[in-house]
């Protein structure tokens, strides 16, 4: 019953929100209330739905096969993540979403997207998986294209990738259906196990490539930054936190469940040069390159969208090791990243709500004006950088550990290098937003209202609590691992107990807290501090005043930028993408010239067509 409700509620929500769009500008409260009720109901049902794991719900019959939906441990976990982050985002939008801008369909498209995502994770056969995948892609496009012309353009970029992914997947669906004779996952699993290598490779390429595109794995990540960064800011939070992970969901489902690890590992030259090695290398590139691109961004949202790609690389790193620790780290990182990236972007949205900008060259010093947003971002970036005691540390520790133990030292090195980049870029983020001098124009800025603070506080609590007590999350992960056929992780409340070194976050947090207390004691006992005006200061031998302000904010990391400028602008992916687009347009133009507009050439085509056709038919000869 809950399973049906999970599919039905977003649909009803979509229908009503669609009909309510006319009322949006006059009385936004109506549609906001409806959305809040709807997403709260979905979250509640999602929480209860665990009782129905394993039961299947049969939908309509299409092409002679029944569309089936049902929950597994893996899909329930994803449903919970989707429902939870949607509800939190909606709470935030109650305060932040203004209809002065053009977002009349915001909630309608959001409901549609939730329908697609929940439907996707609950699909128990290939056809419904594909249908939901397409619905999700279209809903994502619709969600993105709202608002300014810039978002429309970026959404168009996404659409090209999404529809290409969808069509490759459709090719895969048709191929697997033709070869195995069924849409059912169980039949496909059996078929693949006994199939030729050529068939397996074709199926894997056709099915997995779309997931890599959706998960924005290097080199198919080009669509993500513009598409996410030009969306409405709460939507950026939403998209970054959960949307991209649907590609990873598909990857997990098909690699571990539908195809099976044995089949995947049959593809390769040797035990160490196989498909999983390729995935590891791609994941490492995904983790490193976008993270360093993030350094050069001057827009807070755009900076974080590059991390959405990079952190996805970490998740894939963990998952591709296929070890207990690695998959636990990968799965946990999905949750962790979702919580802290939403937290950071909500903080940015709170700043944007008051200042009207997310431009890192223009902000600064807001710590005294928006302390809650500052705290939110602080907690978030500690998580993102993978520093204890926040939850990001735990999953990253698992991933590093599994890479080293699994014998992938170079990949582990790449992961470390990426972490350095992460720390550098998040420092830029918090410094340029909250630290330094407060520009005069922001003197009147106030903290946002409690409705918008609420999700920030909740996420801060989650990021901290799951960092100190990772066992609360790991118990879910262990269940998923059993389902995926991996030995479950031996978790404790504070971390993990294993031969190759325990992790106990409670101890680490205690040490951290004590150190912090010692530092605080020295700081307060020293009696050396004196509170001065922000202009009573100097930098680089200059006194600072209103006319000569502290200007590190502007073009932060410019030296770094200068060194790597050429490398960055040579970014092969973007230019390849552009060239591909140009190629299609050029070839299209040449083909169009087939239609010359001249009757004499057209008449010649007739003759040519008949002659070529006759030659083709051979019977004439």
């Amino acid at each position: 019953m809950y399973t049906q409700a999970l599919l039905l509620l977003p649909l009803v929500g979509f229908g009503v929100a669609f009909l309510l769009q006319g009322t949006v500008k006059r009385s936004p409260a109506i549609v906001k209330t409806w959305a809040m009720l709807g997403f709260a109901a979905i979250a509640a049902v999602a929480a209860l739905a665990g009782a129905e794991i394993g039961t299947l719900y049969e939908g309509p019959t299409v092409f002679g096969s029944v569309l089936t939906y049902g929950l597994t441990d893996l899909s329930w976990w994803f449903v919970l993540l989707i429902a939870g982050i949607t509800a939190l985002t909606t709470v935030f939008t109650l305060g932040s979403l203004r209809y002065a801008d053009d977002y009349p369909m915001y909630y309608a498209w959001l409901f549609a997207k939730v329908f697609g995502m929940i439907g996707l994770v609950m699909s128990r056969d290939l056809l419904s998986f594909f249908i939901m995948w397409e619905i999700m892609s279209w809903a994502t496009y619709l969600v993105m294209q709202q608002g300014r012309d810039e978002s429309r353009k970026a959404a168009q970029g996404y659409l090209v990738y999404a529809i290409s992914a969808g069509m490759i997947l459709l090719g895969g669906v048709v191929f697997l259906r033709t070869a195995s004779g069924s849409f059912e996952f169980a039949v496909i699993t059996k078929f693949v196990a006994g199939a030729d290598l050529g068939v397996i490779i074709t199926a894997i390429v056709l099915v997995l490539v779309p997931f890599l595109i959706e998960a924005a794995v290097y080199p198919t990540h080009g669509w993500l930054p513009s598409a996410y960064a030009s969306s409405e800011t709460t939507m950026t939070a939403y998209l970054s936190s959960i949307s991209t992970r649907m590609g990873l969901f598909g990857l997990i489902l098909f690699v571990f469940n539908v195809f099976g690890l044995d089949v995947i590992d049959r593809i390769g030259i040797s035990a160490h040069l196989n498909l999983r090695t390729l995935l590891l290398v791609l994941a490492a590139l995904t983790a490193v390159l976008p993270t360093y691109t993030a350094l050069f961004q001057h827009d807070a949202k755009r900076l974080l969208t590059w991390h959405s790609i990079g952190q996805g690389g970490y998740m894939l790193l963990g998952l591709a090791t296929a070890s207990t620790l690695g998959t636990a780290g990968g799965l946990m990182h999905i949750f962790n990243y979702m919580t802290y990236v939403a937290l950071i972007i909500f903080s940015i949205a709170a700043v944007e709500y008051r200042t009207g900008t997310t431009n890192l060259n223009k902000l600064g010093g807001l710590i005294t004006r928006q302390p809650v947003a500052f705290l939110g971002m602080l907690f978030g970036i500690i998580g993102l950088a993978g520093i204890p005691p926040m939850n990001g540390f735990v999953s990253k520790w698992f991933i590093y550990r599994s890479l080293i133990l699994g014998g992938y030292p170079f990949v582990a090195l790449a992961a470390f290098i990426a972490t350095v980049g992460t720390i550098m870029s998040v420092y830029k983020l918090i410094h340029n937003t909250f630290l330094g001098q407060l520009p005069e124009r922001y003197n009147e800025v106030r903290e946002v209202g409690w409705v918008m603070q609420l999700p920030i506080w909740v996420l801060m609590a989650v990021v901290f609590a799951t960092g100190v007590f990772p066992g609360t999350i790991l118990q879910w992960i262990a269940r998923i691992q059993v389902e995926l056929g991996i030995a479950p992780i031996a978790y404790t409340l504070g971390g993990v107990a294993q031969e190759a070194g325990d992790l106990n976050m409670m101890v680490i947090t205690l040490v951290f807290t004590l150190t912090f207390i010692v530092g605080a004691v020295i700081f307060f006992m020293g009696g050396k501090r004196r509170i001065v005006s922000q202009y009573d200061n100097y930098a680089a031998g200059h006194f600072l005043n209103k006319d000569v302000p502290y200007n590190f904010n502007y073009n932060f990391y410019s030296a770094f930028d200068h060194i790597f400028e050429k490398l960055y602008h040579a970014a092969p992916v973007q230019s390849t993408e552009r060239n591909l687009g140009r190629l299609v347009a050029t070839v299209g133009e040449y083909i169009r010239r087939f239609f010359t507009g001249q009757i004499n050439t057209y008449a010649a085509y007739y003759v040519a067509a008949v002659i070529i056709a006759l030659a083709f038919l051979k019977e004439v000869l």
């Binding site: 069509m167 007739y606 008949v610 056709a613 019977e619």
Partner: protein, 480 residues
């Protein structure tokens, strides 16, 4: 039981009555009533045709002296499609066609076009087919040139020259066939050609394919289409793209597949179809003129249908027919909406439609739905039909079938990109303030909404439809 001869008689007499009275109201009334009546007639015949084709005796003279006509499931189904589409387009025309612009003549020609369309699906005589084909072509030339401006006249002239070449090819084919068979009834032709020299049959088959193929917009003899479909009044573009080329395609393929069955032309047809898909999509990709873009898209969609037919399997034929139904609805809707975009802005260029979606929100939304169905977004009808084409191709197997799958998938990506580029322009932020709402007039809106409803909710009809699609698909391989 009312005679199916009415399919030919009714529109033809309606055309004469219109001319006699020369009144807009009577012309409009008749051209609405006749298709609606014929749709009902088709529906009433459909159940009888599902079991077996029903031969029609013309003027009490049996074949070979009389003209053999026959209504089967395919004929009844296509007739219903044609009649319903025509009724909706006439409804649209009632508000779209400018008053005092020779309206009576317009409806007269539309009725004559309908006569030939119905005739084409009923006839089982290859020369009779030629006659109806000529009527169809000539009425199309007239309708394409309706606007009487330079572009329309040029398009019509090109269409006429190329159509005449096609007719000549067709006539050559008929002469060759008659020499061997001594009869023009398709059934006799099929028997006679089975024993004829294969090179001879192949030549006749190829000239037939590219002769009728002109009207069916088969690559590479479809070169007139982008000009004609884009220069015609939008209601006529909807008729031409919505059912005329589909109808010609079905008729051409059926005759080729049955009367000329002695030579296996399916591989040739398949190659031609795949080429059509890719050329159509690539050419549409860079278009800046909305109607021209839609016209190129029709070329590729015809390619998809022909590809499905050319698989030579029951599943392929069914998938092709379902895709045909979807395309008839979606492309008609798109052309009809484009017509009002042109009326409101006075331009065919997509760039001039910036922000038009705010002035015409309902029209633009319907455009979006029709476009979504055309590119095959689930759960709209287009997804199911395209999926069936692809799985039929997969089931048929072989290199060209999988090549076709790849080409169709790639084409879909292109199609999505260019259609949604239009939508992006339509919903671009309005330049100045909020302009007054100016959606389509209600008759036009009603017609477009019905077409769109078909392609949006059509998937719900599929279970019912599947009962008739099977016998219809059989019709593609049968001459009875």
């Amino acid at each position: 039981m009312v005679s199916p001869m009415l399919f030919i008689i009714a529109p033809l007499s309606a055309a004469f009555i219109m001319i006699l009275f020369n009144s807009r109201v009577i012309a409009l009334g008749l051209s609405l009533l006749v298709p609606i009546g014929l749709a009902w007639l088709g529906l009433s015949w459909l159940p009888y045709t599902l079991g077996a084709a029903q031969p029609i005796l013309v003027a009490s003279i049996p074949a070979p002296l009389g003209i053999p006509l026959s209504i089967d499931a395919l004929g009844a189904g296509m007739a219903i499609l044609v009649a319903v589409s025509a009724a909706l387009v006439v409804l649209y025309s009632s508000s779209y066609m400018k008053k005092g612009h020779h309206e009576v003549r317009y409806y007269t020609v539309v009725m004559i076009l309908l006569t030939s369309a119905f005739g084409l699906v009923l006839t089982r005589d290859i020369f009779n087919l030629f006659v109806f084909f000529e009527i169809l072509c000539i009425s199309s030339y007239i309708l394409v040139s309706w606007e009487q401006d330079g572009a329309a006249l040029e398009a019509s002239f090109k269409y006429m020259v190329l159509g005449s070449i096609g007719s000549t090819f067709l006539l050559v084919s008929i002469a060759l066939v008659y020499r061997v068979a001594g009869s023009l009834a398709m059934a006799d032709v099929a028997t006679a050609l089975a024993t004829a020299p294969r090179g001879y049959v192949a030549f006749a088959a190829v000239t037939f394919l590219f002769g009728v193929g002109v009207e069916a917009a088969i690559f590479p003899v479809n070169t007139w289409l982008p000009d004609a479909h884009s220069s015609a009044p939008s209601s006529i573009s909807a008729i031409l793209s919505g059912f005329v080329i589909e109808l010609a395609l079905v008729v051409a393929f059926r005759v080729l597949n049955t009367a000329f069955a002695a030579v296996d032309t399916l591989p040739l047809v398949r190659v031609v179809a795949i080429a059509g898909v890719i050329v159509g999509e690539m050419a549409a990709f860079g278009q800046k003129d909305l109607k021209r873009m839609l016209a190129y898209s029709s070329i590729s969609q015809i390619g998809i249908m022909l590809f499905a037919f050319s698989l030579g399997t029951q599943a392929g034929a069914q998938a092709g027919l379902q895709h045909l139904l979807m395309h008839a609805g979606a492309k008609s809707a798109l052309f009809l909406i484009a017509g009002y975009f042109i009326v409101r802005t006075g331009s065919r260029l997509i760039a001039d439609y910036a922000g038009l979606g705010h002035r015409m929100p309902v029209s633009a939304a319907l455009f979006g739905f029709a476009a979504l169905s055309l590119v095959g977004a689930p759960p709209l009808l287009g997804f199911f039909t395209k999926f069936q084409v692809l799985s039929a191709a997969g089931a048929a197997g072989g290199f060209t079938a999988w090549l076709g799958v790849a080409v169709i998938l790639f084409g879909t990506v292109l199609e999505t990109v260019y259609l949604f580029r239009v939508l992006r322009v339509l919903f671009a932020p309005a330049a100045s303030g909020s302009p007054a709402r100016a959606d389509m007039d209600w008759p036009a809106l009603a017609a477009v909404a019905l077409f769109t409803a078909l392609v949006v909710f059509g998937a719900l009809l599929l279970p019912t439809l599947s009962q008739m699609i099977g016998p219809m698909a059989d019709g593609l391989a049968s001459l009875l």
